[in-house]
C-alpha cells in the first residue's frame, strides 16, 4: 500500500478559496513550506486555519486554487491521497474512536495490515513499537482510548500519524487542552522531531510560535495577511497583525467587593456522566459584585460545577448556598426563580433552541411570567416588543427577530443568550467559556457587559480556558484541578506562570 515516493521537498498552495454557506473560509490563500521547516499558522478563531489544513488533508475540496508537491500539481480527493504523499494531521479534537484500543485505532488507518479476511494486528503492533522507540513516545497498544487522559490521547494521535508514514506533520492547536507543563514537553518533543520532519502547526498562542517555528504565516478573515521568518518579528508585532488592530480588552480595575457573600459552595460532590466523582469536596465563595474566574484545564470538573449550580446535575453531597438558601438539587426552574443566570458552555444547543425564533429564545425562561402570558395565552405583542428592544440594546445583528436563532453566527447567538440572562436581572451569573470562538469585537462587547453587571452588584462565576480573559476580568482567580479548588488568589497576583503551575496540580506554588 505504501507507495514508493520521493520525500516532499516543497509543498505549495496557490490561490486556495473555500466557501461555506454564508462564509468565505479561505480567500485566495497562497503559501509555501519547504522540507525541514516549521511553519506556524497563526490567527484568531474563525480565521480559516483549520479549514485550510483540512484542504491540505483532502478532507475538504477547495472551490478554487491548486496544490503542488515538488512543483507537481496534485489533487487530493480524500485523506488517503494525503497519506500517500506522507502528509498527516493531528486534529484539534482528537480523532480517536473511544471504544477501540490504541492498536485498533492505528490499524484503522494502517492499510498494509488489512488482509481482507484477517486484520494483521501483530504487524500494527510492530510498527507502533518501531515508531515509539524511534521518537521516544511510549503508548500502551492495548489500552482503550476512553481510559486515557487527554495528554496520553495526544501521544496516541502523534504515534498514529507517524505510523501511517507522515513526514509532513500538521498539528491543529496541539496545546489547547494541555497544562502549561505538558505544553512545554510537547514543544520540546516537536523541536526534536523537526530535524526529521516538516511541521505546520496552528496556534494562537504567541509564546509557542516564538519557541518552535522557523516561519510564521498569519491568517485573518480567510486571507494571509503576513508571512515571514519568526525571528525577525516580536510577539507584539505578530499579535497586532493577528487581530488587525491594537486590542485593549476591557479590564477589571474596580476595587474588590465588600458586599458580603452571594454564592457559597461547601464540600460539593458531584458525579460525571461516566460515574466517577467529577467534583470532589469542592468549596468556593463568590461575593456580591465580584467576579471569580475559574481557571483550569478543561475536563477538571468545570462543566459539572456549572451544571450542579444550575440544577442540571445531581449533587451527591455538600451544599450550594445562594443568597442564604441551599439550592443543591433544586430543579433548574427553582434555581432560575432564585435569580440565577447562566451562560452555558454549549451555546448552540443548550443556550438556545436553534429552531425557535430570536424573540422566542429571548423569553425561553419566562413564558409563564405575568409579563409574557396571562396564565394560559402568550402575549405576542409584548414578546415582540421585548425582542425588538433587546435586539437594539445588545446589538444582535439579524434582519429581523423572527428568524431561527440557530441560523445566527456564534457571536450573535451569544448576544441573544446574554441579552436574555441579563435582562432577567439576575442576582448571580455563571458564565462558561463566554467568548470561546468569538471574534474580538463580540468578545469585547461581552466583557463589557459582564463588568457592568459586576459593578451593579451582581456576583459572577466566570469559567474560562483563556487565562487572559480570566486575569482581565476577575477579582479573584480560583484554580480547579481534578474536581477540587487548588487555590484562590487575587487576580493581581495571578501570573501566567503561577496559574500554570496550579493548573497542573501543584498545590504549594509559592515554593517553586
Amino acid at each position: 500500500m505504501e507507495i514508493t515516493r520521493k520525500a516532499i521537498d516543497s509543498l505549495r498552495i496557490e490561490h486556495i478559496t473555500k466557501r461555506f454557506p454564508g462564509v468565505l473560509a479561505c480567500d485566495d490563500i497562497s503559501l509555501e513550506i519547504k522540507k525541514g521547516e516549521v511553519l506556524a499558522l497563526v490567527g484568531e478563531n474563525g480565521a480559516g486555519k483549520t479549514t485550510l489544513m483540512n484542504i491540505l488533508m483532502g478532507l475538504y475540496h477547495p472551490d478554487e486554487g491548486s496544490m503542488f508537491i515538488n512543483g507537481e500539481k496534485v489533487h487530493f480527493r480524500s485523506p488517503n491521497d494525503a497519506f500517500a504523499y506522507g502528509i498527516g494531521m493531528v486534529h484539534q479534537q482528537y480523532m480517536l474512536v473511544p471504544n477501540l484500543t490504541v492498536l485498533e485505532n492505528i490499524a484503522l488507518g494502517y492499510k498494509k495490515a488489512w488482509n481482507p479476511l484477517k486484520l494483521n494486528l501483530q504487524m500494527v503492533r510492530d510498527r507502533i513499537d518501531e515508531i515509539s522507540a524511534h521518537y521516544g513516545l511510549s503508548v500502551d497498544p492495548d489500552a482503550y482510548i476512553w481510559q486515557l487522559s487527554v495528554g496520553e490521547q495526544q501521544r496516541v494521535e502523534l504515534v498514529k500519524t507517524l505510523c501511517l508514514g507522515a513526514e509532513f506533520l500538521i498539528l491543529d492547536e496541539p496545546t489547547s487542552a494541555l497544562t502549561p507543563q505538558e505544553t512545554d514537553e510537547l514543544i520540546a518533543l516537536l523541536k526534536k522531531m523537526s530535524s526529521e520532519l516538516s511541521i505546520i502547526f496552528i496556534s494562537h498562542k504567541l509564546q509557542e510560535v516564538k519557541d518552535l517555528s522557523s516561519r510564521v504565516a498569519i491568517l485573518r478573515h480567510g486571507k494571509v495577511v503576513f508571512q515571514g521568518n519568526t525571528i525577525d518579528h516580536s510577539s507584539s508585532d505578530i499579535a497586532a497583525l493577528m487581530t488587525g488592530h491594537e486590542v485593549n480588552l476591557p479590564q477589571n480595575d474596580a476595587p474588590a467587593c465588600t458586599l458580603g457573600p452571594m454564592l457559597q459552595i461547601r464540600n460539593l460532590k458531584v458525579k460525571s456522566d461516566r460515574g466517577f466523582l467529577a467534583l470532589d469536596d469542592l468549596s468556593l465563595y463568590v461575593c456580591k459584585g465580584e467576579i471569580v474566574g475559574l481557571a483550569g484545564v478543561s475536563g477538571n470538573g468545570q462543566k459539572e460545577l456549572a451544571e450542579a449550580i444550575n440544577g442540571l446535575r445531581k449533587v451527591e453531597s455538600g451544599e450550594i448556598v445562594f443568597d442564604g438558601v441551599d439550592i443543591a438539587n433544586f430543579t433548574p426552574k427553582q434555581v432560575i426563580d432564585c435569580g440565577m443566570g447562566y451562560v452555558p458552555e454549549e451555546r448552540n444547543t443548550e443556550g438556545i433552541v436553534p429552531s425557535f425564533s430570536i424573540k422566542e429564545n429571548l423569553v425561553l425562561k419566562d413564558v409563564e411570567s405575568e409579563k409574557f402570558s396571562n396564565r394560559t395565552f402568550l402575549k405576542n405583542s409584548v414578546i415582540q416588543k421585548n425582542g425588538e428592544d433587546l435586539r437594539t440594546q445588545f446589538d444582535i445583528r439579524s434582519p429581523n427577530i423572527d428568524i431561527a436563532a440557530g441560523s445566527l453566527s456564534g457571536g450573535n447567538i451569544q448576544k441573544v443568550i446574554l441579552a436574555r440572562e441579563i435582562s432577567r436581572n439576575p442576582k448571580f451569573l455563571v458564565a462558561v467559556y463566554p467568548t470561546r470562538g468569538l471574534d474580538m469585537g463580540a468578545a469585547e462587547f461581552i466583557h463589557k457587559q459582564l463588568l457592568q453587571k459586576r459593578n451593579e452588584g451582581v456576583g459572577i462565576l466566570l469559567i474560562s480556558e483563556e487565562l487572559e480573559e480570566i486575569t482581565n476580568l476577575s477579582d479573584q482567580v480560583a484554580v480547579i484541578f481534578k474536581g477540587k479548588i487548588q487555590k484562590v488568589i487575587p487576580a493581581s497576583e495571578a501570573s501566567r506562570r503561577r496559574l500554570g503551575i496550579l493548573m497542573a496540580g501543584v498545590e504549594d506554588d509559592e515554593q517553586i
Partner: protein
C-alpha cells in the same frame, strides 16, 4: 444566494420529489402489470365523481385527521408515536365498554361520556411509552410498536370473550364482534343516503384547539421547546419529562377519540378491523401536513382520497388495495429526504455554483460562436 434562486431551488426539489414518488409507485404497478396512468387517475379522481364518493373520502378523513393531529402533538414534543393503531383500539374498547354498561343514557350524556372514555383509554395506552421514554429512555419507536401488538391481542380477546355479541354466541358463527351498541351513541349522519357523520365537525374543532394549544399558549411553547431541543429546554427550566408524558397522553387520547368516533359514527359496534391501518396512515398524514393542523386537515382529505381510491382500484384496474400502503411508505421516504435536501445550504450552494458555471460556459460558447 438570491431569494429567487432559493425559491426556484425549493420548487424544483419538490417537483422532483413528486415525480420520484410517482415513479417509484409506478415500478410496483408495472411489476403487477397494471396500467400505471389509469391507476393513478382512478385513485385520485374517481372518488370525487359523486356525492357518495366525496362523503366516503370525508368519512376517512375524520380518523386520519384526529390521529395525525395527536401524532403532531407528540412529534412536536420530540416523540414519534407509531402506536396510534393500538391507542385507537383501546379507545374503541373503552367506548364500547361504556356503551354496553350504560345503554340507556340519553345521547347528549352518553356520547361525550363514551368519547371521553375513549380518550382516557387512549391516553392511558399513550402514557406507557411516554413514561418509559421520559424516565427510562426506552425508545418510543419500539415500545409503541410492541403496544400495538399487545392492544391487538387484547382487542380480539375482548371481542371473542367478554364483549362478544350474545347473538353470535347463540348462533355460534364466531365472528368476533360486539352487539349493536345503543342507538343513543349514534353520531348523526347529516347527509341523507351517505355515511358522513358529525364526527367531521369534532375533527375540525380538535384541529383548531390544537393549533391554539401549541402555538398560542405558554404550555404549547414549552412543549415545543422540549421537542425542538430537550437540552435547551431543560436549561430553560422546562420539566422535559413531564411534557413528554403529557404530549404522549394527548397523542394517545386523540387516537382513542378517533376510535370512539369511528364506532359511534360508522360501525356502531366494535368489530375487527376498525383501526384498519389508520394509526400508521396518521403518521404519513402528519408528516405530509407539515406537522401543523392547518396542513393536516387538507392532508387528511388527500389521504382519505388515496385510501378510498385504492379500494376502488381493485375492481376497476385490478390493483390490490394494499397499493395505498406502498404509496404511503414511498411518500414518507420521499418527504423526509426532500426536507433534508431543501434545508441543506451546502447542497443548495453547490447546485447554484454548478448552474452558474454552466451558464458561464454557455455564454462563453455563444461569444466564441
Amino acid at each position: 444566494m438570491t431569494n429567487r434562486f432559493k425559491t426556484g431551488y425549493k420548487i424544483g426539489v419538490i417537483i422532483l420529489a413528486i415525480i420520484t414518488a410517482m415513479a417509484l409507485g409506478a415500478v410496483i404497478l408495472l411489476a403487477i402489470g397494471a396500467d400505471v396512468f389509469k391507476t393513478y387517475i382512478v385513485i385520485l379522481t374517481r372518488p370525487l365523481m359523486n356525492k357518495i364518493g366525496v362523503t366516503e373520502v370525508l368519512l376517512r378523513m375524520v380518523p386520519l385527521s384526529i390521529i395525525a393531529i395527536g401524532i403532531t402533538v407528540a412529534y412536536r414534543s420530540g416523540i414519534i408515536n407509531i402506536g396510534a393503531e393500538g391507542q385507537m383500539a383501546i379507545g374503541v374498547l373503552s367506548t364500547t365498554a361504556i356503551a354496553l354498561l350504560f345503554p340507556n343514557l340519553p345521547g347528549y350524556v352518553l356520547i361525550p361520556f363514551a368519547i371521553l372514555a375513549g380518550a382516557i383509554g387512549g391516553a392511558a395506552w399513550g402514557f406507557i411509552p411516554g413514561f418509559l421514554k421520559a424516565k427510562l429512555q426506552v425508545s418510543e419507536l419500539l415500545s409503541t410498536v410492541m403496544l400495538n401488538y399487545i392492544a391487538a391481542q387484547l382487542y380480539t380477546f375482548l371481542l371473542r370473550g367478554p364483549m362478544l355479541d350474545p347473538a353470535e354466541m347463540t348462533m355460534g358463527s364466531g365472528t368476533p364482534q360486539s352487539m349493536r351498541l345503543s342507538k343513543n351513541l349514534d353520531l348523526t349522519r347529516f347527509i341523507k343516503g351517505t355515511r358522513i357523520h358529525t364526527g367531521l365537525f369534532i375533527a375540525l374543532a380538535l384541529a383548531v384547539i390544537i393549533y391554539f394549544l401549541l402555538w398560542k399558549t405558554s404550555f404549547g411553547f414549552k412543549l415545543r421547546a422540549a421537542g425542538a431541543s430537550s437540552k435547551a429546554a431543560r436549561y430553560g427550566g422546562i420539566n422535559v419529562p413531564k411534557y413528554l408524558i403529557i404530549a404522549m397522553m394527548i397523542s394517545g387520547a386523540f387516537a382513542g377519540m378517533a376510535g370512539s368516533i369511528e364506532i359511534a359514527g360508522v360501525h356502531r359496534r366494535a368489530i375487527e378491523g376498525v383501526t384498519s391501518g389508520y394509526g400508521f396512515s396518521g403518521i404519513v398524514v402528519a408528516l405530509f401536513g407539515g406537522l401543523h393542523p392547518a396542513g393536516i386537515v387538507p392532508a387528511a382529505f388527500f389521504f382519505g382520497l388515496l385510501i378510498y381510491g385504492a379500494d376502488m382500484t381493485q375492481r376497476i384496474v385490478g390493483v390490490p388495495a394494499n397499493m395505498v400502503q406502498v404509496l404511503q411508505g414511498i411518500i414518507i421516504l420521499v418527504i423526509v429526504s426532500t426536507k433534508m435536501i431543501i434545508n441543506n445550504p451546502y447542497l443548495m450552494q453547490k447546485v447554484e455554483s454548478r448552474i452558474n458555471s454552466f451558464r458561464k460556459k454557455g455564454s462563453a460558447q455563444e461569444e466564441t460562436v
